[in-house]
Amino acid sequence: MDLRYSESDEKFRTELHAWLEAAVPAHGKPPAGNDWHERRDYDTAWQRKLYDAGYAGINWPKEYGGRDASLTEQLVYYEEIARSGAPYIGVNFVGMLHGGPTLMTEGTVEQKARHLPYILKGEQVWCQGFSEPGAGSDLASISTRAERDGDHYLVTGSKIWCSFAQLADYGELLVRTDPLVPKHKGISWLILPMDAPGIEIRPLRTLAGEGEFSEVFLDHVPVPVENRVGKENDGWRVTNVTLRFERGTAFASEMVQLQQFVAELVALAKKVTRYDARAWDDVALRRALGHVAAELDALWAMVKLSVCESTKTGVPGLGGSAIKLYYTELYQRVSELGMRVLGRANLSREDVAGLPNEMVLGKELNSISLAIAAGTSQIQRNIIAERILGMPKEPR
């Protein structure tokens, strides 16, 4: 049981740290507001810089252009990326963290060649078309139909919660290819070219007021059969591969960032006042901050344990559900604490009187989505109880 990073890990850290120290300030601040095309340019330009420096696809195999870093180097990477304040993975999230990895595991040679190098360079942005208005937690009940028409499928239906759909080049698309068999057995996983005819995209306004999510309507959209990942009607299995990547170490950098956020809250609590004293002098608040700092340390230790235990088969284990569940609920407790530290100033989403409102409120509003996206906390609990603890399945 050894927590010490090896000399080569530390050498990697030193190099990465030096590169980030120059590259992060040079990349400037992310564009403000809701101009998603500016966001795409900003995020993909950063991805390109990572690529040119040899830091893109830290966990991707070398044959796909990745760095194929050891698991501990990956931890170092997440730590350093977070500490440097580097741009968030942003629009590259789906392609880099689960779309790309799904193709590596399940895609054909042609599919890999057509997508992986471009995702890695920030030249292809992906979105996800999994959920539907009628299929959320019960994802396998999707009703978007794909009917075979020669060498194409014609896809009709609607998808929801598609991040960055309005600026993506491709989508991970789940469709029903056989409506007559039990729901898990008639699904296929397709690569949707977002410029295909018959696609209508309507941005959704979230409670944060932003339009990152969209609803996507598909009307007889032609998708080449060669875009199918895995066998026809074997899409549910492929989907589970995607979901495991999505629930795996995808959040690692944000966990380290959250530790920094707690330190920022401590600094803030020393600045703001309550009853003519500093908020920091409030024992209950101070204790709550100390408590979440400990929880975040424990969470990071849990990530290390899980990373070291996972073999190099490439697909994260079910333990990811426990990490995701704990992380998202902890994130919500931390962001709520942030709101309490701000006091009534938290009524403003923009910075007032030198307080970091935009950051604190951004965390608070964003935190709400975390326990819903990529499988709600309730679904994660079902997974843990049924697949890890062996409880009888819910009648379905």
Partner: protein, 327 residues
């Protein structure tokens, strides 16, 4: 970095686990409860298993293992609620002759925390030596020199208590830095025991949820129960990570802040044990409220372990202080 149990550690864990299961099989707790929890034969066997001399250098007759190994062993002791001043005797190995071999039973009092309640000494009747941790150092006191009133109804039936009026100064055996160190090691070992409680209460509850039927179904098929069990699992895993990290950090302080790692372990394991013990009782329904189902013994022992080497509140305050210092 290889942050998982090594092959040796897995063997160590398996060995101590099967020993504890054979000496403390299901149902044994209720049976030995009237004996005040201390079993001299078992104590000698634990000494033979090197539970006390585990971290003592081989040159001093120990096994020369580290804190990471010790927390694994103490998690197993916690799983089966083995009783007696296990942690204190382990800490006393090398400091008090005969502790490692089990011939001298050593208890202790931690007076380094912020609390100053009544002085309650555990297992006083069994003790051959008593260690006291004070900010000024580690003191040794002859337990027979203490006058105290036995508590007729201790919360944990396996942890007898004496209310002691006044303590002699005792003999200074180690300085303040060593007292601080012993307190950290003690907190890590107790966190190990608490982790064991978090694990065994989940195990008990999960087994019951599969076997107990209501409304024509196993109660474990209901989401209300499933979600409680899932939360228990998460608490167990978070506690495990924190406890292992505390052990590894004590052994190699270069990998992190030792105080912060130990405080984190005591908080996470303490909460994991307490909440899992309560959930275990709840999942057992009415049976959980009976003496017969052992779930309550776990909750009661958790209160004993929570009270030593720093409570959750004390450790959370410490973590806050450490974050402040890191600014």
């Amino acid at each position: 970095m290889d942050f998982q149990l090594s092959e040796d550690q897995k063997a160590l864990q398996a060995g101590i686990r099967s020993f504890c299961e054979s000496r403390m099989p299901k149902g044994k707790l209720a049976e030995i409860e009237h004996k005040n929890g201390f079993d001299a034969g078992l104590w000698a066997e634990l000494a033979e298993m090197d539970v006390f001399g585990l971290r003592l250098p081989e040159s001093d007759g120990g096994v020369g293992l580290g804190n990471a190994d010790a927390v694994i062993v103490f998690a197993e002791l916690g799983r089966r609620l083995l009783a007696g001043p296990l942690v204190w005797t382990h800490l006393a190995a090398g400091l008090i002759k005969g502790a490692a071999s089990g011939e001298v039973v050593v208890g202790g009092l931690d007076l380094m925390g912020p609390e100053s309640g009544p002085l309650l000494v555990e297992h006083l009747d069994q003790l051959d030596a008593l260690l006291i941790l004070r900010p000024q150092g580690v003191y040794r006191v002859d337990p027979r020199s203490l006058s105290g009133r036995p508590i007729a109804a201790p919360l944990d039936p396996f942890t007898p208590l004496h209310h002691v009026e006044g303590l002699p100064e005792g003999e200074l055996v180690l300085g303040p830095a060593e007292a601080e160190r012993l307190r950290l090691e003690g907190a890590a070992l107790v966190s190990g025991q608490l982790l064991g409680i978090a694990e065994s209460t989940l195990e008990l509850a999960a087994a019951y949820a599969k076997e107990r039927h209501q409304f024509g179904r196993a109660i474990g098929s209901f989401q209300a129960i499933k979600h409680m069990l899932a939360d228990m699992f998460v608490r167990q895993e978070v506690a495990r990570a924190a406890v292992y990290a505390a052990g590894a950090t004590l052994d190699d302080p270069g990998v992190g802040d030792v105080v912060r790692a130990v405080s984190t372990a005591k908080i996470m394991a303490g909460e994991g044990a307490m909440k899992n013990a309560r959930s275990c009782i709840q999942i057992h329904g009415g049976m959980g409220f009976t003496w017969e189902i052992p779930a309550h013994f776990y909750m009661k022992r958790t209160w004993v372990l929570e009270s030593v080497f720093g409570t959750i509140e004390e450790h959370a305050d410490r973590c806050a202080e450490l974050v402040e210092r890191s600014l």
